[in-house]
Subunit: 208 residues, 2 copies
Amino acid sequence: MAQRVIAGITMSLDGYITGPNDRPGAGLGEGGERLHWWVFGGPWTYETGARGDADPVDQEYLGSVFPTGGAMLVGRWMYEAAEGWGDDPGFGVPAFVVTHRPHPRVVKGTTSFDFVTDGFAAAVARAREAAGERNVLIMGGGDVLRQSLDAGIVDQLTLTIAPVLLGGGKRLFDGMQRLDTTFERTRVVESPWATHLQYRVKRRTGEE
Amino acid sequence: MAQRVIAGITMSLDGYITGPNDRPGAGLGEGGERLHWWVFGGPWTYETGARGDADPVDQEYLGSVFPTGGAMLVGRWMYEAAEGWGDDPGFGVPAFVVTHRPHPRVVKGTTSFDFVTDGFAAAVARAREAAGERNVLIMGGGDVLRQSLDAGIVDQLTLTIAPVLLGGGKRLFDGMQRLDTTFERTRVVESPWATHLQYRVKRRTGEE
């Protein structure tokens, strides 16, 4: 299998990928936890903490994506909002952080974070090289995912639709330039907490 | 079966239910035809006209909804944008148009349009009474559907996700007040042209 670039993100019914006021320490923003109920198999909040395991349906979906990854691409804001995914992110592959602010390399357990300051394309190139034959996984946030879609590098996008209304926050597609991007649905996964819509991403012009 | 209020609308991946500049004669706005490729079984434009039949999968979906209706509720803007659905809409049931501007009753073939000027609740009451044991179908547009959701009268909402980006237009949920509305997915229909996500609509407070 040739290397592919795979992205996935969870969106509310009203199109938000975070609630209002997402920031470091507040993860997905006000009410944004509900986007990720499917990740932990049910209701949780930043106060109670996320403790549960994903439903078997969601575990199967996650298992169809993450083990294929050889490197990750992530935005600086998301890195900060997730507080670096704690002491041991457990990604098992190198992650490349798109940023303007230099930061020394971070190594935590099996995960390394390299902060790439010479542009989005350079970060993509680093991740592609590190991934080798394996896939590049785009972790988000919205800016990096939108840049990736605009750059035409995304082969597969999974939009996970969480059945909630957030009423505010960040929208995935706001500011998207390449409206000629097309999406061919390849799979639907119905979990108790969300609906995963998997698309092959192309361009209407025939580019892939 | 008791009467239910059923709504359905097609939304782009970026959350638009029309393209930019929807208006009488331009239906769903610029590029908005792509929202309804599933209705006619493939690509069409307002220039070429819509001629084809829906894919059997979509026909089955439509057949699970429309024959259950005893009356329809529709907004005045949508009525105008659709130009009254032509000479013979073929609805076979009375339709009630929510409007501020009086208009005489219109009868076209098996379809009647009554223009209700004394408020949204009055129009709903008229539709409910006319539907009898059968369902009330909310045809849209966005304003009427959003009002219906805010009023808590919708029992079932089908969000049909068309795999396109419109980049502008009207958003279904902008201005929605009752963010405590919850959605329980009851069915997914995968057509070649779109994905129908059917939800039971409730309130988090336990109201239904």
